[in-house]
Amino acid sequence: MFRHTISELKEALVCLQAGQVTLRYPFQPHPAEGEFRGLPAVEASRCIGCGACANACPARVISLEDIEGYRLVKFELGRCTYCASCRDACPQEAISMSPMFETATGAAADLVISLRLKLAYCRVCGAPLGTRRAMEWVQSALSETGEYPGEMIKGLEMCLPCKRRQALTTAILLEEVAA
């Protein structure tokens, strides 16, 4: 036992050489390094409410609901597992994993991000089509290619049954079908 004592005391001296290794956190910041995935941050002006993130999330944290003329996109981040599938799925790159990890709270409701995006409605019958932003994004992407006439692009603002009915009576669309 006494040999053990001597070796332990030698180890204590070695430890003393290390000095004090304690971080002064939380009184001094200690940010994460590299590609650390913290709390998801949503760039609300880029979200088009497509729901790709809701489809990809393994914890079903993201939900979409159409109520009263708005699409409510809700991120209930209490359950989030920080896998970044939503970031990878988003076509607009609106979601990014911020480096924030200091997310302690007394109520899980503090971790909810909700976006209300205006819905677009069919020009003819008024049925809801999706978000206005999604509509505008598709329209601008198609008009940039220059291959589609403006009327066709405007024709996107109709629900499918109305589009079919319109196609039977619009000359330019009939031409496409004929060709």
Partner: protein, 313 residues
């Protein structure tokens, strides 16, 4: 006994140098223990008021009494521990501050008063209706039988050399013949007494009965609130008066002048430092290893010391 003498005794037992003084300084010394342990482990330790906050918090918590436990034993055990520590501290510090009050045999009184906290631990373990308490009480009984042997043999060496049973005559002997530490048998006695002090305090490597990770606190497993606070206070007070007792026994005469008092503090600091360093660098011994150590090597060493004391070394 007149009323003012009674009042003086009550004051000396409860305030100075009794319960209040020993408790405050003992808690401060447990902070020193935690701070030195932290330095050995390369980290910051707790702030200086930590032990006081711990005891205050424990006193403010609800004390749960397990259903089916023996209430009398369960509730009396912390009080017995505290009473034992307080009275032992009074006797030890009377030797420092008021040598004229020591009586024949006060060392023996001290030995059995200092044995009260471990007995209280055994009562606590047996009274709480818990298998951890039962095992802890059994282990504590074995440990008491082990270390009291060495402790009493060390004191026997002192008695043989000084030929008296009073604290005041110890100081006179050491003033005449030099500290007991400087003789071979005195040195052996101090080493044996240090081992026994480490076991009496219940510190690593001898904290077998209260093993946190094995026995969930052993006898203390079912205590919460005030009961736990009183047990921790008793250990803190023992951490103060037991090394002080060893300093008075072995390390030289204590005179009531400033220089001698400063020397006492330095010697106390050295002994405390030894106890703390051993505590923070060792792993826990098994019960059979500890019994082999106390009844084997240390008992033989102490008997050799007694023999050396008898022949005058």
């Amino acid at each position: 006994m007149t009323l003012d003498k009674l009042g003086l005794h009550i004051f000396s037992t409860l305030v100075f140098p009794g319960f209040f003084f020993t408790a405050m300084v003992g808690l401060f010394l447990t902070w020193v223990d935690r701070k030195v342990t932290a330095v050995v482990q390369s980290r910051m330790g707790p702030p200086w008021f930590q032990p006081y906050a711990d005891i205050g918090k424990l006193l403010g918590k609800q004390m749960l009494i397990p259903r089916g436990s023996r209430r009398v034993g369960f509730l009396l055990a912390p009080l017995i521990a505290l009473a034992g520590s307080t009275l032992a501290a009074v006797i030890v510090f009377q030797a420092l501050f008021d040598p004229a009050a020591s009586f024949v045999g006060d060392i023996i009184v001290l030995v059995y008063l200092a044995a009260l906290p471990p007995i209280a631990l055994i009562i606590a373990g047996a009274a709480s209706r818990s298998p951890f308490g039962a095992i802890g009480a059994g282990r504590e009984m074995s440990m008491v039988l082990a270390y009291e042997v060495g402790f009493v043999l060390a004191i026997t060496i002192v008695l043989i050399k000084t030929g008296s049973l009073r604290f005041s005559e110890l100081s006179a002997y050491q003033a005449a013949h030099g500290p007991l530490l400087f003789s071979l048998s005195g040195l052996i006695a101090l080493v044996v007494a240090l081992f026994c002090a480490q076991a009496k305090l219940g510190y690593l490597p001898f904290d077998i009965s209260e093993a946190d990770t094995e026995l969930i606190g052993g006898p203390l497993a079912e205590y919460s609130g005030s009961g736990l606070a009183l047990f921790k206070l008793a250990v803190a007070m023992t951490f103060f008066h037991l090394p002080a007792f060893l300093v008075i026994l072995f390390m030289g005469p204590i005179e009531p002048n400033l220089f001698s008092m400063a020397g006492f503090l330095i010697k106390l600091a050295i002994l405390l430092f030894l106890i703390i360093i051993v505590k923070s660098t060792h792993a826990r011994l098994r019960l059979d290893q500890a019994l082999h150590l106390f009844w084997g090597k240390l008992a033989i060493l102490a008997l050799a010391g007694v023999f050396l004391a008898l022949i005058g070394w």
